[in-house]
Structures are given as C-alpha cells and as structure tokens.
Symmetry: D2
Subunit: 365 residues, 4 copies
C-alpha cells in the first residue's frame, strides 16, 4: 500500500488545491476508506471563499463513497474491500449529546483534543469531515467512530445512486421529517436546490398530498415536479403567499420548509403557515433573522419553528439507501457533471459559479 | 329573573366602566352562567390602554367562575345551579382547527358572522370572551358551545382555588408542556409574573429537576421558590446566560420558557439553550423579533421554538382542577387582592399600575 | 319532500330487509342527507348473522355519500344541495373523550339517552350509524353533530372515488399511522381484504420502503401490489416469519399491521417484529387473544401493541379525500360490484359469501 | 494492584457462591471499576433458582457503584479514582439498534462473538452484566463500551443514594415514561415491589395527579404513599377495578403500569383503563399471556400496550442521579439491609425468601 495520497486542501481564501499528504494511521476505532466517488457541497464553496473558517492544510469534502481499505483493531462486523458510505456528520454515539437525542451536536472530542474548553454540547460540532478532521476529497479518508458510521452499500447500487445519502438527502429528508407531516398535508418547500429538492421528495414520501415547490429557476422547478412536487411556483412571477392561500382555500399550509438560508424565504415560510403550522428550517443563515410580528401572530399562533443539522450514523444511511434501493426516488438525476479528483479545481470553478445548469458533481480519484 | 345586569365595558382607550346591559338570550348550544368570581388579566390592561382593539361597549374579562343559570335546549349532562368554570378560550370543537389539533385557533364563526372573509383558521380567533363576544367581568356571561366548555368544579374547591385555571394556569402549564420536558431536565423560566409562575410550577410537575426562575423582582422570585423553582436568578444582579452555563456544567438548558413577550427575554431564552433544546414562548410580543445568528447556531442547532395560545375546553379545565384538588399546587396564593364588581375601576387602577405587590385580583359581583 | 323512505333494516339474525320508514326530523345540530351511494361492510355481515347485536328495526350501514337535504338550525357554513360524506364514526367532538384525544370512544350520549349508566368513555361508543342510530343503507340518513361531521366532496370526485373514505380508508390508514412508520421501514400487513389493502397503501404513503402484503388469495395479493406492496407473501406457500427475517437480514420488521382479527395473524404479527417494533392491530377479534411468551420477549422487547377504531370527523374526511384528489391512490378499483338499494338483499348475499371476487359493493338508492 | 479478586459466581441451580477469579484485562474501550456497593435483583434470584440460564462460573449481579481503577486506551474524559455508576444494561451505542432508538436491544456483539447467528437485533441482548459477561457482585467489574456507559456520581451523593439508579429506578421510571402521562392523569401501578415503587414515584414526578398503588402488602403500600401514591389499594380487601372506576367517576384510568409479571396483574391493568388508555408493562412474564376480549374492546378500544427493558447509558444515569441530587425522591429508604460481599450467600438467602421486610440489600466488598 502506498504511503502518500492526493487530497484537495484548503490553502487560503479563494484557494483549494490538490496536494500530497500522508495516508493516515488507523486507530482502534477508525477505518481507512479508499474514496471511489465524492462530491462538492455548498458548504465547501463557503470554505473556498473564506466565509467559513477551517485550518489551512485541511482536506475538504464530507460526502464519502468508497471501499474499506483497513479497519481499526476494535471495529467488528465489517470486512476490508467492502463498499461503504458514511454520513457527512459522523457522530460519536457514545456521547451525552447522542444519548440525549441529538447525535449531530456532540462536541466532546473538542474538549478531549483541547480545542474547546466547553464541557457540554456544542452546536454543529458533530460535523468533522472537512471541518475539524481531514475530509473526503482525497484518495483516502479516515472514518472516526467507524463502528457507528460505516454503512455497507446494498448490492446493485452504483456510487452515483448513493452519493446524495451522506448529506443532501439526509438533510433534505430531515427537513421533511421535522415538518411533522401527516397524510393529506399541504407542504411548501422554499428553494429547489439540491437540499430543497430532497425536502420536496421527502415531503411527498411522508404523505403530504399537496407539495408545493418554490424557486426562481424554471429548470429546477421542472426537476421538483419529477421528484415529487404537485405544484410549482416561480416567485418571480407570482406572490407565493397569495398562491398558497388560494391553493388551500384560505387555510394556509400545514408546514413550510426553508432550504436556502435567507431572510426572505424564512419570512415567507412563516407567512404561508396556518396557525398551528410548522416551519422546518434547513438553511444556513449568515445574519440575524427577523420574525415579523404579524406572521408570528404576536407569539399566539401555536407555531413551531424547527432547525436541523444533517443526521448521520450507519442506521440513518441504511434507511436512506433503502429508499434508493426500493426505487422510491432517483437522485442520480441530480448528478449533472463528472470530474476526476485531479480536476477538482475546475469542478469547484463550475460549481461555485453554478454554471451549465449544475446541480451536483461527481468527483472520482 | 332580572333582565338587566351590571357589566364592565370598554368605552374608549383609558376607560373601562361599569354599565347596565341586558342579560343575554340563551341559544340551543349556549349556557348562561352567573359569575361568582372573575379576575383581571394583563390582556385586559392592554385593552384598557387601547393597545388591543375591541368594540366599544363590549364587556371585558375572560376568566369565569360561576353557577349555571340557564342551559340551552341542546346542552346535555349539566344541571342549573351547578358550579362551573370555562376556559378563557372557549373553542368550537366542531371546527376544522380543533379536529386538526389546534382548538384555540379556529376562526370559523368569524366567517359565519360575516366579520371575516377568511375560509380557514385565523390565529388567536378561538379567544372570544371579552374579545369578540361579551366577557366575564359582569353579573352574567353567555358561554358559547357550552357542551364543550362548561367544566364542573369538584366538590370542596373554592372559587379562588380554581380562578387561575381558565387562563393563567392553562397558559403557563402549556408553556411547560410545549417545552418537551423529560425527567432530569434543566428548565429556565424567564419572567415570574402570574403566567411565568405557573410555567415554573408546571415545569416542576412534569419532571424537570433543575427549574430556574428568572426575574428582577425578589418578591416574585420568592414566590417562584414556593411554587417549584430550585434556583432563582435576579437578572439585575447576575448574567443569566453565564449562570445557567455554570449550573449545567457548560451543557446549556434543555428548555427555556419565555413568559414576558420582549426581545430581551426571547433572546436570552435562546442563548441559554443546549443545541437540541426547546424555546417555549408564551409572551405576547408587540414588535418584530430578532433571532441572533450565533444563539441560533446559524440555523444548525437542532433547536425548536414553539408558541402557544391558552388551551381551553372542559377536559383541559377538568385536568387543571385535578391538579388543584390533588394539592399539587396552591395557586390561591396568587390572589393578593379582592374587589367587588362595583369597584372594578379601582381594581383596574391597582392592577394596571402593579401597585402593592399585586399578582392577581379576585373580582366578585 | 316525501315523508317516507326505503331503508335496509335488521329484522332478526339472518334477515336484513328493505322496509318503509319515516324520514327523520332534523334537530338543531343535525343534517338530513339524501344518500346517493353507500356500501356494505364486514361489520354489517356480523350484524346480519346475529353476531353483533343491534336493535330490531334499526337501519344498518355506516358509509354515507350523498347530498345535504336539510340543515339543522344551528349548523353553519354548509348549504343544502351540497355533496358530502361523513365518517362511519360521527364523533361528538364536544365530549371529554374527543378533547382527550380519542373522539371515536365517547359514550356520553349513551348516558344522556339513558342507555348506559356509565359516566365516562365507553369503548367503540363513538360508532353510531347502524349501531345505535339509523344507518346509511337507506334513501336518507340523519347525521348527528353535523357541524363536526359533514365533509364537502371536492369538485371532480365521483361517489365511487370517495366511498372508501368514511370507513375502510380511514381505518386502514389509521393502522399505518399507528405503526409509527419512519422513512426506510419494513412493514408487514397481515390480510389483504379491503382494510388490509388500505393499510398497505397507507404504509407506503407514509414512507415505508419495504411493504410486505400477506394473504392466501393471489388475486388480493395482485391488488396489494397495485396499491403499494413491494413484496407479497402467500402464507399457504411459505413461512411468513422466515421470509420476513430473510428479507430484513434477520433484523425483523419495524412494524406489522394486523387486519383480520384472528389469533394466527395477531401472533405472527408479533413474531415478525424486531425488538422495539410496533404491532398495529385493526382486526375485530371474537375471542380472547394469546400473547406467546417468546415472541413477546417475556415482556422485555420494547414492543408496542396499538389498537384503533376508525377515526371520523370532517377534518379526517377532508384529508382522506385530499389523498384521492391528489391521485396518490385509486381506491375505485376496490368497488367490484354495483347494486340498487332495492336489491340490497342480493348484495348482502354476494358480499357475505365473498362470491365472484367481491371486494366492495356500491349500493345506490 | 492485585491479580485476583473475589466474585459471586453461579455454580449450579441453587448455588451462587463466592470464588476467586482473575481481575480482567482492560481493552481499549473498556474500564475496570472497583465495586464499592452493589445489590441483588429479583433477576439474580431467578438465576440462582436455575429459572434463567447463565453459564456456570459467570459472576452475577448488574448494579455497579464504584471507583474507576483503570481506563482503556481509547476512553477519554474520565480519570482513574473517579466515582461512577453504570447502567444494568450497558448498551453498545454504536449499534444499529441504538441508533434506531432501542439501545437496550442490540445483539450485535453476540454475532461478533460467535454466540448467535442472528444478524439483527436480539431482544434483551443489551443486558450483559451477569448475563453474558461477568457481573458486579465482585471486587471488580469490567465495564464494556466505557465511553458510553461510565456515569460520574455528583458530589455529595452516597453509594446508597445512587444504588437504585442502574436498574430499579431506570426500569420503574421507564414504566412511567411509557405510560404517556399528561398533567392531571390517573395512573394505577400494579405491585409495589422495588420497581413498582419507582414506577409510582415516576408517575407522580411526571404529572399524574391521582397515582394509585396496588399491592397485598400493607407495609409496601405505606412506602408507596411516601414515594408518591395518592391512593393505595390492597387487592386482598377490595375489587381494584371497581375502586378505580369509582375514583375516576366511571371514566377509567388514563394509564396502568404492570410491575409484577403475572397474568392477573396484566389483565387487571387492562381492565382499569379508559378506552384510549395505555398499559405500560414492566414485568418479566414466565408464561404466555391472555388478553381478555372484553377488556380489549375486541381490539377497538384505541388501547396501547407498551413493554420495556431497563434503559442504560451515561446520559440516562446522569438524569436519574439529577433526580436524586434535586431531592425529588429518597430511594435510600429502599435499602433495608446491608451485607459484606463475603456474606453474599446469606444475603441471597434473605432476599430470595423476602424475609424481614426486605426491599433491597446493599452489598459491599
């Protein structure tokens, strides 16, 4: 086995570049996975632009599809050579946070490693790949807490078919799950990027009967229809709140899912709701949010606002791959472009400028 | 039976006065209740000040304790002379909203009465007494949907013991119920007015083991201790967020209950939370709210923000009176002053200026 | 308007016959509905055989599709001539039971009418049509608590398309809802009669990805595939428990739905479950049930067994008709035979002997 | 450090004896704990009698209070010398079962160790101490998955105060948690042994306002009153079902908790329920159970039957110790007798014959 590998590392704002790094050692609870396919996420673009700080030299990327190269001594029930994925968030399920119901929010390793003096949970601290430890845009990645996080790929599924499971699908579906959907619900999904499209698909899979996709891009609205939207609204050509009220006979939507991370979508998600409705928020916001008094019924509307970080773990991945294997959903159509790892700088260039109708790229070492 | 009665009516901003009004007729689904005790709520003070609009001439008040004087022809299972209460919110349980799980939010009668062209739910529309129909600060009140809303008082309980059930206790407890409390939780309650005190008591009754009451008034903090707080914090003398972090070993509170309706308390309620925690909001806000980006973890903290309007209905009232009858809680100690209905102008004066350590007043025709 | 109507009444065990009865008077909270289509349920066959006691002379049937003929004086928001359905169970939503979360279980009117000395809930007492009051196999039916129970049919839907909503679909879907389904679940549905087929469809609509239909009738298993089953098992040709274990890699099913009401299906529903799984029971049993010690893990398996009575009310009906209107499901294919009300004796004969591949019959006055 | 220790081992039916065994080696994810106090459970008596099979030579006992002697190389955030407890069930939180919500039910290590060919969950397989691996009635115990299972004891709490947390309190409270208690509920707890007493206490802590304890032993009923029962019923002197119906005005109990494991208590727990009520079962049954048709409303009563295995993990232990530290409950009064480990045969003799009013014994090496 070689000792060095190629990896895409953050160098400085504006620069993610290919570098040679040593292949990491495998501790008792780790697994080394040889990447066969990975992808670029919107978060990676924030890192590239310097909007989200990571340590210079860190390998970026958090969506692994690959093959087990080497297992830690304490990891049982897997075999080397097995095809696996792992979640974008690889939680430590031994943590207080995980046992308390929020595996993605554990920050105990930050304490252990001396990076943080906190004793408790730390928001988003469950996200490690390409954030705190080396990520997946490389020839190899070290999966921590491997016993909890390695998820075997069912026979017959291609890399592309499961490439959305680690992050986009897990996040989008969580948005639908948090929306508390019951059979017969009307659900409005604001923004139809990759995560919004998965939220749209998830809302339909959970029993909503009027799924409304909102975006300004007609091409994305077309894909929304293919993935589960009953109705699509282009907000540049209509008043979304008015339309939802018409579609629901004045009742309002049972739930709204925000999948962009902006004030306008957050606010409209609240405005379309019935009293008693749920705003499920997925977006990563970049400034304080305003809750308009009227849309919030002055605090008396029996509303729920729920946020989420992408769930991980092998059981979550197993369930998501079940959805794919059962042909409930074809997320392969989201992979619009293919690149070799050697060309990742070009891939970032295309993806960060959203050129050529790109939704997601597949990157292969 | 007489045909006229005394009632406290809203005349104009700054003026609530006693007037003579006809005792109302009783429709098939109504009940006429002779008031024996009622009280004044913070909302009534907003009405008095003209901050919340109601029709001039409307009888105010929404917390009835009394005796059934006359039952509508279709109301079964009660008898005239029976002691009863009814919720501040008297829902129409036949409505779509009620069958959908939010009885307090039905506005269907607004459509029926021609007051509103909406076809769906309408936030807060379930509140009728002293808002849309004549209220309880009178010798008699007409209870709508009486079959659903009349709740017999268990033998042995005084008017004062059940006077908080229709609104303060139902609202405060709902705040605790929405906080999703599990055994061993830490719950912080911001503001220890009547509703906050009930939220404090409710949090303890539901199994929280570190209930933290926050206020600037030491007298109210003393009462909080009597009603269930393990710890009290006077925010004029400490940094509440720091203290909560210390008390929880850096972990953060499992839930926070906002019981004031202001930006500062809303914001701090978010800041004390663990990732994955719940902000249960009870306050009536008077302006747009700001959600600070950091406290909200940029939308990635698995947070929940939940609002509520006071739940009503005879089953709710039955359960709350059970709490009183079982000696779990003595809310009688909240009744600090007594007035006759004839002196209600003086009662408003005392209560609206929060003089003399007043928490709640009992008003008796 | 005529004063007499034709109605199918229970005469004695073995005899349900057409009779002339007066069209009922309409009280303030009632509505008189002219039936355009109704159907026969398995429960009606139990009544016919004398296995379930009803008063001689009672009109049978509990699945109404029709037109509002006359509204009670207190019923608002509907118009005469409007096409409506009502649930098989028409709950009194003003009752303690309904406000407590189980509208189908209220028996308060039994007390009011002197039929029962109980003061509390009474199991199954929410079922009135064709059980305690005159039912729907007639030219007209009186709908009690009409404000809560009349559900307008969306434009464009035929009688046949909504005929399953009042009972079969509401019950079958409740079975799926009680199964606590999460995305990626394996759900086994025991028996593929009309209710089991709806449970199969409901399980798929709620996100199960391996829906397994079990029956001995290959024709019904074919319909199961059309309505949502991923896999079907004919229990006369395989060991169902073994097959489920194979299909789940030894893990067991996440949930099982019992839709027959017999010991064998109840027991196997328990045997296929994973520890922590849910048995959602829909069947009407006719004798004591046995829980096998091993399948129950001696009481230590974190199992849930949940039963249900068909949910009713206008909001429930609205949601189910939404499912139909959104083309999620075509239950029209369950209506295999058509009869006129005049020929209802022949319809009972066919249906009770399950001749000619009958699933459900449509009966039209 | 010594290499040998004393341990109580199962020899043959009727014989649990003290033996010398090597102190075990510590793997990377283990911790060696020096026992300071442990206790004997009813399950241990079943083992003693040969009614529950364990391997001859196995150290019995599953309730550890002690001090960390040595930590595995991969275990972080603890220090040697720290006082800790661990749950009777020490789950592998990396397992599919744990990530799926039932940590107590994972059997993956059985596969890994070759003891079981199953691939999935296995009921009760989460219980390891004194069942599959050496237990706690010894000078030292090896805690598996230590990172997930070691729970530091808060300062100021004695061994006796936390001795019930690992099993009795965790199980009893789970019974109350599964009962789905809401404020104002009536809850009946059948049997007031140690687990039933904890269920009684838990029901009160969660907001039930009429907690009814049932037993035949007046002394235990007295303790039930001290720990939270509002009413106690000695079933040898009254008809429990009749009494509960009287106490609830004919409505039935909202929930019943079975804490004995026998047909009679299971059956009565069902009989006292309202339609829509929950039977939370904790008992370990030794034969098939019968569900009476009438009490089950023929399957139409909207009933829930829920079972549980004791929850474990450090977060669970942390929460239970919080209850003790907050003075909500004094379980020290359950410890009626003290023994040295050297005298454990005598302790078994007393406990298995339930002599001298014994509830629980403390055993100290």
């Amino acid at each position: 086995m070689p000792v060095m590998m190629k990896a895409a590392v953050f160098v400085a704002p504006g620069r993610i570049e290919l570098a040679d790094k040593p292949i990491p050692d495998v501790g008792p609870n780790d697994a080394l996975v040889r990447i066969t396919t990975t992808t670029i996420c919107g978060t990676d673009v924030h890192i590239l632009k310097g909007e989200y700080p990571v340590a210079p030299g860190l390998t970026v990327g958090h969506e692994p599809v690959g093959v087990i190269e080497k297992l830690g001594s304490a990891v049982q029930g897997y075999r080397e050579g097995q095809r696996v994925i792992a979640g974008a968030i690889c939680p430590n399920f031994n943590s207080y946070a995980a046992q308390d119901g929020v595996p993605s929010q554990d920050g105990s390793y930050l304490v252990a490693s001396g990076r943080c003096a906190c004793h408790g949970y730390k928001a988003t601290a469950g996200w490690r790949f390409g954030n705190i430890i080396d990520g997946t845009q490389a020839e190899y990645v070290l999966v921590p807490d491997a016993q909890a996080n390695l998820a075997p790929i069912p026979d017959g599924l291609t890399d592309e078919q499961v490439l959305m499971c680690p992050d986009i699908m897990s996040t989008g579906f969580k948005g639908a799950e948090n929306a508390n959907i019951r059979i017969g619900d009307t659900v409005v999904v604001f923004a139809q990027g990759p995560i919004g499209l998965c939220a749209t698909a998830g809302a339909r899979l959970l029993g909503a009967t009027t799924v409304i996709g909102v975006d300004s891009n007609d091409h994305r609205l077309d894909i929304a229809k293919k993935l589960g939207a009953d109705v699509t609204l282009n907000f540049t050509r209509c008043d979304v709140v008015d339309e939802v009220m018409k579609l629901t006979g004045g009742r309002g939507a049972d739930a709204a899912i925000e999948a962009l991370g902006q004030q306008a979508t957050f606010e409209n998600a609240l405005r379309v709701l019935k009293p008693g409705g749920t705003l499920s928020s997925l977006g990563v916001y970049s400034s304080d949010l305003k809750i308009p008094l009227g849309a919030f019924a002055a605090g008396l509307g029996d509303h729920r606002i729920v946020t989420a970080l992408c769930p991980g773990g092998k059981e979550r991945m197993r369930r998501l791959m079940n959805v794919v294997a059962a042909n409930r959903l074809d997320l392969g159509l989201m992979v619009t472009h293919h690149y070799r790892l050697d060309d990742i700088v070009a891939a970032y260039d295309l993806f960060s400028h959203q050129r050529d109708g790109v939704l997601k790229v597949a990157v292969k070492p």
